[in-house]
Structures are given as C-alpha cells and as structure tokens.
C-alpha cells in the first residue's frame, strides 16, 4: 500500500477486481447511495505502452478494453472509475465505491469491499508465485574424476 495516496491504492484494487467478485461484494454490502451521473459507463480502449529494451523509449504495444464512469453522490463526493474489461456494472460500482471512500461511509466500504478484494487478489498472486517457485531449477554439479 502506498501511504501517500490511499485513493490510488483503492482505485487499483477496484480496477483489477474480477467483475463478479465486485458485484457479489457490492450486493452483500447492500450499498445504494443516491447519486447522479457525471459520465455514464462507457466502453473504450486504452493504448498500452511498453519500452524498447524494457527501459528505453516508449512504444505502442496494443490496446486493452476498459470501461469508465464518473458519479457524484448526493452528499457531493465525486467518484471516478477506469476499469479493465467491458462491464458497465463494474465501472458503476467502482465509481460509486471511489466516491463513498471519500465520504462518511469510507470505513464500511474499506471493510466490506476493498479489503476482501485486495485479499482475493493477493491470494491469487501468492498462489501463482508459489507454483512458480516450485518450478525453480536447483542446479547440481555431477562430480567427475578418479575418486
């Protein structure tokens, strides 16, 4: 977690979350804040850039699909989302969560949505890293010679 910018962290967690996981947590949390659209969910593309030789000049690698949305809560907080994939509900929930995390409901949203999503993501990551670690080669040298 970056201490300086918690919003960057939670927006990343929301963007990377599987749409079904976010939808399920959103349902469970029973959140239905009053809001108005600043930007209705819209599907589009972002050009992903790499760097030549990993560290050099940027180049265009190819696009990825994203959905973006922006909302304003009745209490005034503005939430934004640009999330991977083509799921309008995910973008809506992520934008609302972003707004709520700046409101009085922040602790509830952190506990009921962000924390479980972050834990799920970390679990998947750790499992893959553990499987990768099991395929790490242990070299040994065959002893040659008279003895």
């Amino acid at each position: 977690m970056t201490k300086e910018n918690p919003r960057k962290d939670w927006m990343g967690t929301l963007a990377k979350a599987p749409a079904e996981a976010l939808a399920a947590l959103w349902q469970q949390a029973g959140l239905a804040p009053d809001f108005q659209w600043l930007r209705r969910p819209e599907i589009g593309a972002v050009m992903v850039q790499g760097r030549t030789g990993a560290t050099g000049a940027p180049f265009c690698l190819g696009e990825m699909t994203v959905t973006r949305a922006s909302v304003r809560l009745a209490s005034g907080e503005v939430g934004h989302a640009v999330v991977q994939g083509r799921d309008r509900a995910k973008a809506e929930q992520a934008a609302l969560a972003d707004a709520l995390l700046q409101s009085d409901a922040a602790e509830t949203v952190k506990r009921d949505i962000i924390a479980p999503l972050a834990a799920g993501w970390a679990k998947t990551k750790t499992e893959r890293a553990a499987k990768a670690a099991a395929t790490k080669v242990d070299f040994f040298t065959m002893v040659r010679g008279e003895d």
């Binding site: 910018n5 919003r7 960057k8 927006m11 990343g12 963007a15 990377k16 819209e42 599907i43 589009g44 593309a45 972002v46 050009m47 992903v48 850039q49 790499g50 760097r51 030549t52 030789g53 990993a54 560290t55 050099g56 000049a57 940027p58 180049f59 265009c60 690698l61 190819g62 696009e63 990825m64 699909t65 994203v66 973006r68 922006s70 503005v78 934004h80 640009v82 999330v83 991977q84 994939g85 083509r86 990551k125 750790t126 499992e127 893959r128 890293a129 553990a130 499987k131 990768a132 670690a133 099991a134 395929t135 790490k136 080669v137 070299f139």
Partner: protein, 360 residues
C-alpha cells in the same frame, strides 16, 4: 474499371445460414462455451489478442468461436471491433521489471538472481500425444514452494554494470502509433516494435529463422525470457495522478547479441527486444531476433541485403490482416477485368496471326 453488378443476395444469405450450421457442427456434441475457449485454449486466445492488438480474453474467445478456430479470421474480427472503440488515452509505459513472473529463464546466466523458473512450459515434454487427455482430465495437484516476495530483476542489468552491453537510455519521447498514422519507412525502432508485436507469428518466426540460418546472422542468446502479469497504469486527467486500470499478461524476451564493434560502436553485446500480449514465447523470441536484425543501420553494421534487414519488406508484409485482405480479394468477382484481358489476348493473337500470314 469497376462495374456494379447486382445479384447473389439469396445465395449469400443461404451460404451464411449453412456457415452457421457448420460452425455449430454435430448437435449431439455439446456446444463450446466462451469460458471453455478462454480457459482451455488460452494460447490461441493469446495469439488473437496479440495480433488483433486488443487485450480482452473474452472477446478473443468469442472471435475464435465465430471464426470456427481460424485464428487469422478471428484476428480480423478483433481488428474490426477495435476500430469501433473510442480511445480514452495511453497507459504509462509498462514496468516489466515489476512483473509477477510465472516463468523466467535465462540462457546466458545460470545463477541469475531470481533463478531459472520454468513455469507452465511445454519445454521438456516429450511431444508424445497424451491419450489421457482424450478422456476427462482429473484435476492435477500442483506442487508449491515458498513464493518469492520481491520483484525479479532484469538480467541485462548485470551486464550493464560492466558496460558490456549497450544501454537503453530511458526516454519519454512520444511513441508513434501506426493505428493513427499510416506506417511509413524508414521507421524508428518504437514503430518497428509496434508493427512486429502485432505481426503474424508465422511470418515473424520465418524472418527470425532466416537470421539464424545465415541471412544477416546476429548471434542471439536469449538473455532473458519472462512471462507474467504486469499492472497497467494510466494518468486520469480528473485526478492528476496515475492509477492502475488493470493487469495484462505479457511475454518479454531480451536477446543478448554478439557484436564485434563497428565504425561507430565499441565491441559490446547488443540487444534485441520482444514484448507480446499473453503467453506467446515463440513470438516474443522471434520478435527480438527480427528487431535486432532491423537495427543494422543504427549500430553501423553492413547491410548484407538479407530480407530480415529490409524494414520495408519486413514491416509491410508482417500484418496478416493486410496480407490476407489483399490475397483473398482476388477470389472475388473480377469479371470485367478478366474480360478485358481476354480481349487483349485475342487481339494480340489476331495481330500475330496477321503478321505471320503477311510474311508467308
């Protein structure tokens, strides 16, 4: 000359109906779901994303189903779809050094920090058909070990320390984009890399292989090959800072190439680079070899006239959608063109006949 011809609508409709039936196949066999394609034909999905130049596994799975498994047709569908999407912006350049590596190997440094991690590879399989897969596959118990916590460093960093390999100085020069401006040669390296990463795997492979066989040989070692997920960040103007908007799986290959030095460059190792969406290591290695071959001019090497050194040849023929579009259009009606050809041949024959008669 083009002449409008009408007719054939009914035949076309009926052909499409039959196509749909053939696509479905035997109704006694269960229909494929997109999830099955995405999960179980993941490498086909990856190829369609890489050459379709759009990262979206669900769309790629749909395209494969619609195209009956013809991957170039599927890539065509994805290319057509992506033109309908509004462009929201560009990501920050990816930090592949932060990759969560499923696989990471080096052919040059046995004891590289982070080690040789094989990942879910076909290497070391015996390429014997596994008839167990013809039956239902039971879940496999996958061994696990203590996961690495820290990021795995790039291997070329170690050579950099001794100055033995050319630097790739960071730059923020805006990248050209061939989806916005038509590709023109001479092309800078970033434009060449964009063209190669979406290029046809078979074509790029063939070009790379030609360099190995001696047509502009560049003595490549795979310095590093890594596969895994990398976060994608984009700056949101509303916020004024970059946030993660998702994650993409990538294959990255850095080659280390022997280089004796030239008029302008000292003897050192030089580099080729491949970066491709998904798990696509054949393509990433091939891309790195072709990238290196195309760099002859900036490294002061001789142009030996090899196809892989000719950027116009490579870049203008690597796109399988352009290629198949032009190739396949010749099967469409050319009745009028051909009629004029027939008349020309008849005329030439008549003239030749008249000359023959006149000389007799």
């Amino acid at each position: 000359m083009y002449v409008a011809v009408k007719g054939g609508e009914k035949a076309i409709d009926n052909a499409h109906a039959w196509l749909a039936e053939e696509r479905r196949g035997d109704l006694n066999v269960a229909e494929l779901s997109l999830e099955q394609i995405r999960e179980q034909l993941a490498l086909a999905v990856n190829r369609v994303m890489a050459e379709g130049s759009l990262y979206d596994p669900d769309l790629a799975a749909l395209a494969i189903k619609q195209a009956r498994g013809d991957l170039i047709e599927a890539i065509f569908l994805i290319r057509a779809y992506r033109t309908t999407l509004p462009r929201f912006g560009r990501s920050e350049p990816l930090e592949t050094g932060e990759m969560a590596c499923d696989r990471r190997i080096s052919a040059t440094f046995k004891d590289a920090p982070g080690g040789q991690v094989l990942g879910p590879t076909f290497d070391y399989t015996h390429r014997l058909l596994d008839f167990k897969l013809a039956a239902d596959g039971a879940p496999v118990e996958v061994p696990q070990a203590a996961p690495r916590q820290e990021a795995t460093p790039h291997i070329t960093e170690f050579l950099n320390k001794e100055g033995l390999i050319e630097e790739q100085p960071a730059s923020d020069a805006p990248a050209p984009d061939l989806t916005r401006e038509p590709l023109e040669t001479p092309a800078e390296r970033p434009l060449r890399l964009q063209s190669l990463t979406r290029g046809d795997e078979g074509f790029v492979l063939g070009m790379a292989y030609s360099t190995q066989r001696g047509y502009a040989r560049n003595h490549a070692f795979v310095g590093e090959l890594r596969i895994g997920k990398v976060a994608v960040e984009m700056e949101l103007p509303e916020l004024g800072f970059a946030v993660e908007i998702g994650e993409v799986e990538l294959t990255e290959c850095e080659t280390v190439n022997q280089f004796k030095g030239s008029k302008t460059e000292p003897a050192q190792f030089t580099r080729g680079y491949g970066l491709v969406f998904g798990q696509s290591e054949r393509k990433a290695i091939a891309m790195a070899l072709v990238d290196r071959a195309l760099r002859w001019k900036e490294l002061g090497e001789d142009n030996v006239g090899a196809p892989a050194q000719d950027e116009e040849f490579v870049l203008y023929h690597s796109d399988n959608i352009q290629a198949t579009g032009f190739l396949e259009h010749i099967k469409l009606p050319h009745y009028v063109d051909f009629q004029s050809e027939i008349e020309l041949v008849r005329k030439l024959r008549a003239e030749a006949g008249a000359r023959k008669e006149a000389t007799q």
